[in-house]
């Protein structure tokens, strides 16, 4: 539990420290903000619209592929722990598992679904 406590402490202390440091800039330099100063920078001309939009994520097929592979990693971690004890059978199982998944990548690649431009 010591390790968990330290991890949580480090996480929250770092966040707090950075937020405090960030607020220190008010002391260093007065903050002014006028309308022209707030215009998003693209080279000196004003945008027509807000930048936030229904952004076309071109790599959406890849992100779906990622979901499946993320799942695969969940299986691999516990497998790694017992691998040596279980021996050859564990290797074969994982080999088959991964080869099956590699077909997924092969298919995606052949369908050119990883490209977007």
């Amino acid at each position: 539990m010591q390790g968990v406590a330290v991890t949580l402490a480090i996480f929250f202390v770092t966040i707090a420290a950075f937020l405090v440091l960030r607020s220190a800039e008010r002391r260093l330099s007065p903050r002014t903000s006028t309308a022209p100063a707030r215009v998003p920078f693209t080279g000196g001309r004003s945008p027509d619209t807000h930048a936030w939009n229904r952004y076309h994520v071109r790599y959406y097929p890849m992100s779906l592929l990622f979901l499946a592979f993320d799942m695969e990693m969940v299986f691999m971690y516990p497998w790694a722990v017992v691998f040596v004890d279980e021996g050859l059978i564990a290797l074969i199982e994982m080999f088959m598992f991964i080869v099956i998944l590699l077909f997924g990548i092969l298919y995606t690649w052949r369908e050119r679904a990883l490209e977007w431009a």
């Binding site: 006028t34 309308a35 229904r54």
Partner: protein, 457 residues
């Protein structure tokens, strides 16, 4: 205040971070500023201490310059380089520090930065009026200017609208008004880029720019090296040797060294945009000190470029200018990288006597243009070395580093016109690689443009 003063003392040895606004007749000053250890040229005005206004700008560029100025984070200052000692055009900021000698730019920026951080000089006030892009405060049911789900002008601007796309999804189209001072793009280049995601759907060129690029003269090659080093180099000769070569014989060495220097300075910028800023500086140093004995250094550079897999990966098959597209262009390295051997020098008897053969590559992609320019730089040194005292033959057309110069045409006009066709369908990063590889020169003084329009005066 004690804390601020202490930090300001600590900051004293840091370079002054400058955001340069490169106008006409300043293209030959701007690249070399990167070599100065007193300065750090930054990509974003948000991170800049000093706005560096170089050369002359037309009214449209000045408007954009004012916006860039206001986008800078205070404390901020303005340094204007102006050989005749007056601020360019109607530059609205009255507290700009004006520098006449190019050699003084760096030190002036650095002093101004120190004064700003030490709070000895007040930050330059906003130039533009503090007006919202559209009235929104207190408007609408929630007081933020919007109505319904997507209507109105929430916080001053509307939301983006939908448009069709090639993959069948009808999502929002985002218009990004690029330039004229967006760092990876050539100074002065303005593009209206319609994006869905990071893929460009359509590029249009605002009318004024199409106009400027089409107007006369103004090729701005880099000045010849002088005896007094940096300061002398930065002192710009009024005319470039290439425009001079239009009308009178010019020693070939005086054409070929600046050409090689232009190509290498271009390469330095291209390397910087590719993420290799440090190596770009090395190339820039080579360009700055370029002389007839630099051939070995260029060979080493060429070898390094050829071995660098990552550069090849980012540039090969990117931005292919087809042979048909190249035919519509007047000439220049872009055309020669697409398998077309047009080069005004081939027609010059003086060059023919030197056994001049244009360098040509067939691929037409960004990589081909990179390699071609390095090869041409190498060739230029050989020509300069072999030429002795021989001079070019004036014929009304001279081959500038960007292409053939004629009295009534700039080589970049065709390239700018080609951009919409070339960039449509490209991912943003590839589009930037393409534009950089084309080496477009856009900035032109408005006076010159006006003069060209009004005829000889």
């Amino acid at each position: 205040m004690g804390l601020t003063a202490t930090i300001a003392r600590l900051a004293a040895s840091a370079p002054a971070r400058c955001f340069p606004l490169v106008g006409a007749q300043a293209e030959e000053v701007a690249p070399w500023l990167r070599l100065d250890p007193l300065l750090a040229i930054v990509d974003s005005p948000r991170a800049a201490d000093v706005l560096l206004v170089l050369g002359r700008s037309d009214d449209e560029m000045l408007r954009a310059a004012a916006a860039v100025h206001d986008a800078m984070s205070p404390p901020r200052g303005v340094v204007v380089w102006s050989p005749d000692g007056v601020a360019p055009g109607r530059w609205p900021s009255s507290d700009a520090v004006i520098v006449r000698e190019p050699g003084e730019i760096a030190l002036t920026c650095r002093r101004l930065r120190d004064d700003l951080l030490g709070r000895r000089v007040t930050s330059s006030p906003d130039v533009l009026p503090d007006l919202d892009p559209a009235p929104w405060r207190g408007v609408g049911p929630f007081g933020q200017g919007g109505t319904g789900m997507t209507g109105g002008v929430p916080y001053g601007r509307p939301l983006a609208g939908r448009a069709d796309d090639r993959d069948g999804l009808k999502l929002d189209q985002m218009l990004v008004r690029v330039g004229p001072f967006l760092p990876p793009f050539p100074p002065g280049l303005q593009l209206d880029v319609k994006l869905q995601g990071d893929v460009i759907q359509e590029v249009t060129i605002p009318a004024a720019i199409a106009d400027a690029a089409g107007s006369s003269g103004g090729e701005a090659p880099l000045g010849a090296p002088g005896p007094r080093g940096h300061a002398a180099r930065l002192a710009v000769a009024g005319d470039s040797p290439f425009t001079a070569a239009l009308t009178r014989p010019v020693p070939i060495a005086e054409l070929e060294l600046p050409r090689a220097r232009h190509h290498l300075a271009w390469l330095a910028e291209a390397l910087r945009v590719s993420g290799l800023e440090a190596y770009g500086l090395r190339v820039l140093k080579l360009a700055f000190g370029l002389d007839l004995e630099s051939a070995d250094s260029i060979d080493a550079l060429d070898r390094w470029l050829r071995r660098n897999v990552s550069l090849r990966w980012g540039t090969s098959h990117v931005g292919v200018v087809t042979g048909a597209q190249a035919e519509g262009l007047p000439g220049g390295p872009v055309v020669r990288a697409s398998g077309d051997d047009r080069d005004a020098r081939s027609l010059d008897p003086a060059y023919q006597r030197l056994g001049f053969e244009p360098v040509v590559r067939d691929e037409g992609d960004a990589l081909a243009r990179w390699r071609l320019r390095v090869a041409e730089a190498r060739q230029s040194l050989q020509l300069a070395k072999r030429s002795g005292t021989s001079e070019s033959t004036p014929s009304g057309v001279a081959e500038g580093p960007r292409g053939p110069l004629a009295a009534d045409a700039s080589p970049s006009a065709g390239l700018v016109a080609l951009l919409p066709e070339l960039l449509a369908g490209m991912e943003w990063g590839d589009a930037v690689t393409t534009i950089v590889s084309l080496d477009v020169g856009v900035v032109e003084p408005s006076e010159q443009r006006a003069a060209a329009g009004a005829g000889p005066s």
